[in-house]
């Protein structure tokens, strides 16, 4: 059935009757249509008439503009709306990334609103993988973190993606980790209002979250810790733990959290900290099977350039450098002078002649 302009205005009665609105009659929604033939321009259906709560939520959200974001932009064809636990629904958990992706994978739109193009990185993340490949209904989809009708900018303190709310948001699923995090220095700092301290997404990223045992994650996250802990990162880079990790294919060497813990990071003075003196043999022993009391005196952040903190190391390096540069200095000069002299001698006695003694 087509209208005057040739547009299909037919509704598949079978699909409609199986949809969530299947028990309604046409005029329950199309209240303005009273006679036949219908008016040339029927008044748009107002979902708000029944769905007042959702309409109120969306009116306060980042998607408030009804013309840019009609209900159907997420819920799909108005005559084929299914409950959200129905696999046919556009807002079924496994379909949500694709539904949001209709707009949020569009680079033009992303540019227009200054958004990162997150759809593709989400799909490659551990959450995206769980949704698209494993079909896990419990895996985080867009809605799990951002909400649905009431999506707010991450800059809004009421948003579940506002910095201080992120631990709770992630904690909705990762409850155990959230408890550990809250007990650690980072969690306490954030709870205490220090917004420089990291929340989940600072280390794990928001959309491109990787399985944390993956080589890529092990390599990418150390500099993330280093972006705040600059001094510690610099001294770490002087050690084999770092040096070996940088050479492809070998990421087993200790990363920050292998020693410090990941979520429940505690100061070394805390007896529960893995880097507390009493726990070092156990902590180092996770990789170094024969670690003993002397072995764990190794300083993974020693700084050979700091005389006060590491005098023995400082003087060792000083002596080695002195040796290196005095030997090379003397012999460079020696060899250079010799070379010049021998060249001149050669010039005197012809190209093949051995230098004649004076």
């Amino acid at each position: 059935m087509q209208d005057a302009s040739g547009q299909n205005v037919g509704v598949d009665a079978d699909v409609f009757h199986s949809s969530i609105h299947g028990s309604l009659s046409c005029t329950d929604c199309h209240t303005s249509i009273k006679e036949y033939p219908h008016p040339e321009k029927p008044v748009a259906v107002k979902c708000v008439a029944c769905h007042a709560d959702q309409a109120a939520a969306i009116a306060g959200s980042i998607h408030a503009s009804a013309s840019a974001h009609p209900c159907t932009s997420c819920h799909g064809d108005a005559h084929a709306i299914f409950p959200k636990d129905d696999a046919r629904s556009a807002v079924y958990p496994l379909n949500i990334p694709r539904t949001c992706g209709n707009c949020h994978s569009d680079p033009v739109l992303a540019k227009k609103y200054g958004l990162q193009n997150v759809y593709s990185v989400y799909m490659d993340s551990i959450h995206g993988y769980a949704v698209s490949k494993e079909g896990l209904l419990v895996a985080a989809n867009c809605m799990s973190c951002h909400g649905s009708h009431n999506i707010l900018s991450h800059k809004d303190p009421k948003s579940p993606t506002y910095k201080t709310n992120i631990p709770n948001t992630c904690g909705t699923c990762h409850g155990g980790v959230m408890a550990e995090y809250s007990a650690g220095v980072h969690g306490k700092a954030v709870a205490g209002g220090n917004l420089a301290a990291p929340v989940c997404s600072d280390c794990h990223t928001a959309h491109s979250i990787l399985q944390p045992t993956l080589a890529d994650f092990r390599m990418q996250s150390t500099p993330i810790c280093g972006s705040c802990h600059k001094g510690r990162f610099a001294t770490y880079q002087d050690t084999f733990h770092s040096q070996l990790g940088l050479l492809g294919g070998y990421v087993q060497t200790a990363r920050c959290w292998d020693c410090h813990g990941a979520h429940n990071i505690l100061p070394a003075s805390d007896p529960a900290s893995p880097i507390n003196k009493a726990n070092l043999i156990k902590t180092c022993g996770r990789c170094h099977a024969d670690a003993n009391a002397s072995f764990v005196q190794y300083q993974p952040h020693a700084n050979p350039r700091n005389r006060k903190l590491n005098p023995a190391l400082y003087f060792t390096r000083f002596f080695m450098n002195l040796l290196l540069w005095s030997v090379l200095g003397f012999f460079s000069l020696h060899t250079l002078l010799w070379f010049i002299r021998a060249k001149r001698e050669q010039g005197k006695s012809g190209p093949t002649g051995e230098a004649k003694d004076d």
Partner: protein, 293 residues
């Protein structure tokens, strides 16, 4: 530590009956000494090539090399393999010295003109040589081993002890931690890296130029590969040793045969390859060192 070269032409598989008799050749190094040098420089090149990526691990070239050979695990395996080879060569040399000193009661191994042990003449030679460089005196005449060669020898000797010990201490850190204080484990990496850097820079610049690339020997002193030197070269480069052997009547006993053509060419290929690898590593080392500083 001293010259044990007897003229043993029958033991030189690469020798053939004297071709022309026009040029006289003297045996300067035994086959064992030449093999030792070959094992030494091969394993040293291997250690340098695999050690440098670890030392300068944030350098793109280092990561490229590491990735190409199969990552850090492979690099470390090759490094340890070369280290074991070099350790065995070092132990063989110690055994050789001990045998010659204790069993054969060789005289002059620890002192005298043919010994590697530095003496007063070496001090005078350094001063004299430096004076000659700038035109302040005559060129000194050298014995069996000149002072810069003794320095090479002892630098390598000391280097092997220091780098070897620190290397094994890292390899078996928990074991060494039974005897060493904790800070030593930190110091060991610094010592290992810096001493290795010294060895690499020294060998690939100073040793190469002093021994092979200086005008008198350019492009390569073949004596360590062929074991033989011409009468003219011997007389000029080692005047004192030549005169001493002549006056002692031992010169004729050292006469050997002219090295055969294919062996010289083969040695040149090996030698130039080693020098080329060394120079490439030298450039990479300098880039790594000054690129990070």
């Amino acid at each position: 530590m001293t010259d044990e070269t007897g003229a043993r032409p029958t033991q030189q598989p690469e020798s053939q009956p004297q071709a022309s008799g026009k040029e006289k050749y003297y045996v300067r190094f035994t086959l064992a000494q030449r093999y030792l040098h070959a094992v030494l420089f091969t394993s040293f090149l291997g250690l340098a090539a695999t050690g440098l990526p670890m030392r300068f691990s944030d350098n793109p070239a280092a990561r490229f090399v590491a990735r190409e050979v199969g990552g850090f695990g492979a690099i470390l395996f090759l490094h340890k393999f070369c280290a074991v080879v070099l350790t065995l060569a070092f132990l063989y040399h110690l055994k050789d010295i001990a045998g010659r000193a204790l069993v054969h009661k060789e005289k002059g191994i620890f002192w005298g003109p043919t010994s590697m042990v530095p003496n007063w003449k070496d001090v005078k030679d350094i001063v004299g040589h430096l004076r000659w460089f700038v035109g302040l005196g005559p060129k000194p005449q050298f014995e069996r081993y000149a002072y810069w060669e003794k320095f090479d020898y002892w630098a390598v000797f000391w280097g092997m002890l220091v780098i070897g010990f620190s290397g094994y201490a890292m390899w078996f850190a928990p074991f060494f931690a039974k005897f060493l204080p904790g800070w030593a484990l930190n110091a060991i990496l610094v010592v290992h890296g810096e001493e290795a850097l010294l060895a690499i820079l020294f060998i690939f610049s100073i040793h190469f130029v002093n021994t092979h690339l200086r005008p008198d020997s350019f492009p390569m002193d073949m004596v360590i590969f062929t074991g033989k030197e011409t009468d003219e070269e011997f007389r000029k480069k080692r005047a004192l040793e030549y005169q001493r052997l002549a006056s002692e009547g031992k010169l004729e006993a050292k006469v050997g045969e002219k090295p055969v053509y294919w062996w010289v060419n083969f040695a040149k290929v090996i030698g130039f390859t080693a020098i080329l690898i060394g120079l490439v590593l030298l450039v990479l080392t300098l880039i790594g060192y000054f690129g990070n500083a």
